[in-house]
């Protein structure tokens, strides 16, 4: 019998992210939501994943409940394999040891370029200013596969980002290599609160792969300011599972400071 699940858009993005990674891989974890994704995936799906934080924590295994804000603190860098510093952390990624990277974004464009610096106006005189790269630029440059997590809002999917904070495929096929970025790297998936995108192997354009159960591809696409490519077969993403939600709500973020968000429902 079909059962309706209730969850937040954030919970859905986290659950999707956690299902993406392979076991036995390394994961360069950005600040905030990617940290929660890493914890959930490791608890539930891929125990043998080593995380890396840009502050120099290699292989951290955060304590639960998750403590927000302080990526460099004892809770989040708990039981690391190694504590180093930032220049070493980026040596791990630059030399090819980081398989996946995960980043949030303000804006993303069809080539997976990320803006997290400003919106409106110019760089010198922006209308709204945000945190900027942090280590995002390095993560998106060095990791073999970068995953972007972004809320599914129209204004976030633009034909061209106002500022490339972290590089996607830039202007298309070959552009990363031409710019000097490491070969065969680039955006791998874009996880949104409604759908999952990949990138076309040939054209490097963002491609709709899957949508949340109960949503149509058209609904997903009409909210975007550019029209993505659409996979021949768009698959269905099941909503957060009971295990995912229980872990998130009971063990990882019981105060719901991070997993709160817009309410959504779907059929389990």
């Amino acid at each position: 019998m079909p059962r309706k699940v209730e969850f937040t858009d954030t919970e859905f993005m986290i659950a999707q992210g956690a299902r993406l990674l392979e076991d036995g891989k390394t994961f360069f974890v950005g600040w905030g939501i990617p940290q929660i994704v890493a914890i959930l995936e490791q608890k539930l799906y891929v125990p043998n994943v080593e995380q890396l934080f840009e502050c120099g924590a290699v292989g951290p295994q955060s304590v639960l409940p998750f403590v927000r804000g302080t990526m460099g603190g004892p809770q989040n860098t708990y039981r690391s394999l190694q504590w180093l510093n930032m220049n070493w952390a980026f040596s791990y990624s630059a030399s090819g040891y980081m398989d996946y990277g995960m980043l949030g974004a303000l804006q993303v464009d069809p080539y997976g370029n990320i803006n997290s610096t400003y919106l409106g106006g110019t760089f010198e005189k922006p209308e709204r200013r945000f945190a900027g790269s942090g280590g995002g630029n390095q993560v998106a440059s060095h990791c073999w596969r970068t995953v972007v997590i972004i809320k599914h809002e129209g204004r976030r999917f633009v034909p061209k980002v106002e500022f490339i904070t972290s590089p996607g495929y830039l202007t298309g096929p070959g552009a990363r290599e031409k710019a000097g970025l490491p070969k065969d790297t680039g955006p791998y998936r874009v996880v949104t609160s409604k759908a999952l995108f990949g990138f076309d192997e040939r054209t490097k354009e963002m491609t709709l792969l899957s949508v949340l159960r109960g949503i149509t591809p058209e609904e997903v696409v009409k909210e975007m300011a550019f029209r993505p490519r659409i996979a021949e077969t768009v698959t269905e993403i099941h909503p957060p599972t009971e295990d995912e939600l229980r872990l998130l709500r009971e063990e990882i973020d019981p105060s719901r400071i991070i997993i709160r968000g817009e309410k959504m429902t779907a059929i389990a």
């Binding site: 502050c55 220049n87 942090g134 060095h142």
Partner: protein, 314 residues
């Protein structure tokens, strides 16, 4: 694009002429350290973030002394960029991660402070270049991004492969602030846990102010050389500053005061900023008075108790 740069030979000459290699007693108050070693117009760099082992008592002293026209290099600047800007001390910021709260974002939009993008990796690499005495270091990031176009980073073809490679210029700050777990009176210092670029910043900066939770005997360092983060001869002043990272956390010593941090996050306009600065900085003579009158022993005890994870921090 404007950037801070010093010819490596000039920096070397400063190190030769102005940095003492003698182990003498460098203990002083934050007031003395900041008035002696921080000048208007200086470039300041510091290790870690507002929430983790940041040199918050030194930052507050800079504000108290109303330093002007500072340029700060900050990886994870959450609150100090807002406070230093709101207090009229900082006019330029190299980032990093310009986190959060509306105040600093609005100040950038209003043109009250200029922000230069180097990214965390780029800034850490610039400081490493400064520490290694070379004018630049190469990297395979920044490339293709707009951070490159709004910075003074340059792209050259690598002479070995022909690949375009990004070069970032060395950064040699005027002053580095480092808040540490332990120091001795000469300046030898230990940090436990990860750091961003503590030794790099100490080597690359003209002046180094260490503030320490605890002062230990100099002999401790020679008994355990693998644990020394900074040797004394890089350091100019040592400030004994228990709770120096407050309201942030000192790993394995005390936790974040989330309530105080929320107050900081809530600052949205100049009125609120002025009120915060008055209450927490201008109206108290120093860090000790701040702790007594604005934090209190009960709160400190509670934050100490919360720091229950100590494994590995030694």
């Amino acid at each position: 694009m404007e950037y801070r740069f010093e010819h490596p030979d000039e920096f070397r000459a400063f190190v030769r002429d102005r940095k003492s290699r003698k182990p003498f007693d460098k203990i002083c108050t934050a007031k003395e350290a900041v008035s002696r070693f921080v000048a208007d117009g200086d470039y300041i760099v510091y290790d870690f973030s507002s929430l983790t082992r940041g040199p918050q008592s030194l930052i507050r002293e800079v504000i108290r002394q109303k330093k002007k026209d500072l340029w700060i290099g900050a990886e994870f600047t959450l609150h100090e960029s807002a406070l230093l800007t709101g207090a009229g001390c900082a006019t330029r910021i190299d980032v990093g991660f310009l986190g959060y709260g509306n105040y600093i974002g609005q100040a950038v939009c209003d043109g009250r402070v200029k922000v230069y993008e180097w990214t965390n990796g780029g800034l850490a690499l610039r400081i490493l270049a400064g520490a290694r005495g070379v004018p630049f270091l190469p990297t395979r990031d920044l490339l293709g991004s707009d951070n490159l176009s709004v910075s003074a980073a340059k792209v050259i073809p690598d002479p070995y492969t022909g690949l375009p490679v990004c070069l970032v210029p060395a950064l040699n700050p005027d002053v580095a602030f480092l808040h540490v777990h332990q120091a001795d009176i000469h300046g030898d210092a230990r940090i436990f846990g990860t750091n961003l670029f503590a030794l790099e910043a100490a080597l690359a900066s003209r002046r180094v102010i260490v503030s320490a939770e605890e002062i230990v005997e100099p002999d401790e360092f020679r008994k355990d050389p693998m644990r020394t983060t900074i040797p004394y001869f890089l350091v100019d002043a040592v400030v004994h500053a228990p709770f120096g990272a407050y309201p942030g956390a000192m790993p394995a010593r005390y936790e974040i005061d989330l309530e105080h941090v929320d107050r900081l996050n809530g600052i949205r306009n100049d009125d609120q900023m002025r009120k915060y600065l008055d209450e927490n900085i201008y109206s108290v003579a120093d860090h000790e008075e701040f702790l007594d009158k604005r934090v209190g022993a009960r709160r400190m005890k509670e934050l100490r108790r919360k720091a229950s994870i100590t494994e590995g921090y030694r």
